[in-house]
């Protein structure tokens, strides 16, 4: 529900806030599924860091009332038809796939953080290293791309 609202708001901040709501709800779902680690991660990283980034950028860009108006005119109902149909088809396909299998939850156990940690540093240690490399690359890229000094402006093209 919140997600639907998130995608349909005109004001960026409103959309963000709705999204945060949906993230929190998902975290609850995770917890209910017996994955507390994932729930914690969701709240801390996703809702905490990524959304905060979004908020920062929106604030930086200083989108005011005209932006909201622009959004309104961009978001005409006729624009929704195509994607809605596409999504509906996709959803239908998912349900078709799942319809056959009736798999109830087997055990009601919980996969605790300890187990996840063991797996991370046991089986998936290479993946962890790679992920850290990815983060490093993202850091460097974001830093470089976010510069706005005079040299860039004179250069002309986006470096």
């Amino acid at each position: 529900m919140a997600t639907f609202l998130a995608i349909s708001r005109t004001n960026a901040i409103h959309a963000l806030l709705y999204f945060i709501v949906s993230l929190l709800a998902l975290a609850l779902v995770f917890f209910l599924l017996g994955a507390p680690f994932a729930a914690a991660l969701e709240v801390i990283i996703y809702a905490g860091a990524i959304m905060v980034l979004f908020v920062f950028v929106i604030m930086m860009l200083n989108l005011g009332a005209e932006a909201a108006k622009q959004e309104r005119e961009w978001l005409r109902p006729s624009g929704w038809i195509g994607p809605a149909m596409l999504a509906a088809i996709l959803l239908g396909e998912f349900i078709c796939i799942l319809a056959g299998k009736g798999l109830p939850l087997a055990e009601a156990g919980m996969v605790g953080p300890k187990a996840v940690g063991a797996a991370l540093f046991g089986l998936y240690v290479v993946g962890v290293e790679l992920a850290s490399l990815l983060l490093l690359a993202g850091l460097v890229g974001a830093y470089y791309l976010g510069r706005r000094d005079e040299a860039q402006k004179k250069g002309g093209a986006i470096p």
Partner: protein, 624 residues
């Protein structure tokens, strides 16, 4: 001597090669030396070989020289081999002698033209091909020479290739003779498959042995061969190309279209006379076509204005006489007329060339006049030629040869053919002297400027002499009874001769016809020229126009053949196969256009397409 036989066709071919490769770099003198020289040498050689042949005739009455075997296919083994018998000897002597004289004439006549080397190269190739045709001992080699002369005819008629009229005339000549060539090829194939050999002497022996008189196979083969001869010799119904072929230079017309190539058909029939004897139907057709053609062409020659066209129609008509002779079985008469005709027709063409050159390329005889005093040598030689053409009694060669044919026509062909011949003789002298009177006599029109030239005058004189003297090879019994040619040719001569008094009467009638023509021409074109220049009634005018267009054959062929073909070509312009190729190209271009439209550069569009594609794939995975 016999070993040098191969040089006779080889020398002009060598001249052709040299001139093709180096002609542009040689000076005029060098080109003339090689061009005329090669033919001159060939003439000398033929004379020597002929002398050896006459003085010491070989046992089989033929020289045979085999060079090598050309092909070997399913039992046929045609070779490159030459067979010289009296018929071939006469032909090569005429071809090389007249050819040399014409080459000599062309040395100065074509002196101003660009493409001098090219001209002589083609002329040499022509002489080489013609000699191959005549000396060939099998039909395949003959066909090679046949095609060669056809090619050279095309090349030489279209010598001034920048002029579209020349190009059209060359193409027309090629296509019309092509029709004949197809018939000839079919005839050769028929003979090859039915008889199993293409060697001419063997062929004639085998067919005489195997096929009865009048057998359908022989008749079919003879008719097909006749078809080929009709094309090359410009007889009915394939005669339309020759008048237009006058678009080529004068030496070309003299050599190819008067003396040699057009007589290739006559040679072919004479060579294969054994076959024609087996097929009387075909032989009758030969005579009938000859008679019809000579009358038709004679009428057309009467009303032409272009001096060369008159001579062209005259050639068609005279070859009609030769065909007439062949058709009634008078083989040596036909060859005799070929001999004399070569001389006087070449003479007439060369003389016409001198006239045209002097009047700055003027061709219309109504714009010429009074050249008798201004071009005396040309006048006298031309007069000799015209007299020979009209068979002026007793002194000209034409008289003897034509007389011979007419006597045979009466004897073996019946009165109708003879009557056609007599009418033709009258027409011939009429149009010949119309030409003489209009061109050389009467008031002078136009300026004359002709540089004197030995190269031009010598051939005229020599040919004039020959046009008189060559007649004495064969004289009728009442006037000396010489039969040098018939004896030499050793072909089946006339079966029987008419009795003496009848023969004298026939000769008188023939002479009268010729003289009457001359007198009528004098009447119309000299004494009272206005009578001819203003055709009176509508009928006469209609007739005039009909004859002028060559009895409407051009129009007929255009309507029957050319128009439908053009129509077919036009509707087939976007033909089926073409459409397939174009459709392929169009599909490629259309897909390109369609695909380009997807490259919008807009992110959302790309995202949508990706999403749509993914959904489709998932659907595929789910439902299949």
């Amino acid at each position: 001597m016999r070993e040098l036989l191969w040089l006779i066709p080889a020398l002009p071919c060598a001249g052709f090669f040299i001139l093709t490769l180096a002609g542009a770099r040689l000076s005029h003198r060098g080109v003339a030396l090689i061009g005329a020289g090669s033919v001159g040498l060939a003439a000398l050689l033929s004379a020597l070989v002929g002398l050896a042949f006459i003085t010491a005739p070989p046992s089989s009455y033929a020289y045979v020289q085999t060079l090598w075997t050309w092909l070997e296919v399913s039992g046929l083994q045609p070779g490159i081999a030459f067979h010289l018998d009296p018929l071939a000897l006469v032909m090569i002597t005429v071809i090389t002698a007249v050819g040399f004289l014409i080459h000599l004439y062309a040395v100065t006549y074509m002196g101003e033209e660009e493409g001098y080397g090219r001209f002589f190269a083609y002329m040499n190739l022509f002489v080489g091909a013609m000699l191959t045709l005549v000396l060939a001992d099998n039909l395949l080699l003959l066909y090679l020479g046949w095609e060669g002369v056809g090619l050279c005819s095309y090349l030489l008629i279209g010598f001034w290739y920048r002029d579209p009229v020349s190009g059209y005339a060359a193409r027309k000549a090629f296509v019309v003779t092509r029709v004949g060539d197809v018939a000839l090829a079919l005839g050769i194939l028929l003979l090859a498959t039915q008889v199993g050999t293409l060697h001419i002497q063997d062929l004639l022996r085998e067919t005489a042995r195997q096929w009865p008189d009048g057998s359908p196979l022989a008749t079919l083969a003879a008719f097909l061969i006749l078809g080929g001869a009709l094309g090359k010799s410009a007889q009915l119904p394939l005669q339309t190309w020759l008048p237009d072929a006058m678009a080529g230079p004068v030496p070309v017309s003299a050599l190819i279209h008067a003396a040699t190539m057009v007589t290739a058909g006559v040679y072919l029939i004479a060579r294969l006379q054994g076959l024609f004897t087996l097929a009387p139907a075909a032989q009758g057709a030969v005579a009938a076509i000859g008679a019809a053609t000579l009358l038709l062409a004679g009428c057309s020659a009467l009303v032409q204005r272009d001096i060369k066209r008159i001579l062209a129609y005259s050639t068609i008509s005279q070859i009609g006489y030769m065909f007439l002779a062949l058709g009634v079985g008078a083989w040596s008469a036909a060859i005799f007329h070929f001999l004399t005709h070569a001389f006087f027709k070449a003479l007439l063409f060369l003389g016409a060339g001198a006239v045209m050159l002097g009047l700055n390329h003027e061709r219309d005889i109504y714009r010429m006049g009074g050249l008798r005093t201004r071009l005396p040598l040309t006048f006298w030689t031309f007069l000799v030629g015209a007299a020979s053409l009209s068979a002026f009694p007793l002194v000209t060669a034409g008289f003897y040869s034509k007389e011979f044919i007419l006597a045979q026509a009466w004897q073996s062909g019946g009165p109708w053919l003879w009557a056609a011949g007599i009418a033709g003789a009258f027409l011939t002298s009429l149009y010949a002297f119309r030409m003489v009177f209009l061109v050389f006599c009467g008031p002078a029109k136009g300026d004359v400027s002709l540089a004197p030239s030995l190269c031009r005058d010598i051939p005229l004189l020599v040919l004039a002499l020959l046009a008189i003297v060559s007649g004495f090879l064969e004289t009728p019994r009442t006037l000396g009874g010489l039969s040098l040619l018939t004896d030499f040719l050793r072909t089946g001569g006339p079966a029987s001769l008419p009795e003496l008094s009848l023969e004298v009467r026939l000769q008188l009638i023939a002479s009268l016809a010729s003289l009457a023509g001359i007198y009528t021409a004098y009447l119309f074109f000299r004494k009272r020229p206005r009578l001819a220049e203003e055709p009176q009634s509508a009928v006469v005018r209609l007739l005039h126009r009909f004859w002028f267009s060559g009895w409407g054959f051009d129009w007929l062929y255009h309507a029957l053949l050319v128009q439908p073909f053009l129509w077919l070509a036009k509707i087939n312009r976007d033909d089926f196969l073409d459409l397939i190729y174009r459709a392929t190209a169009w599909c490629a271009a259309a897909s390109h256009r369609a695909l380009s439209r997807t490259q919008t550069g807009q992110v959302r569009w790309y995202a949508a397409v990706i999403a749509g594609g993914t959904v489709a794939l998932v659907a595929l995975a789910v439902f299949l």
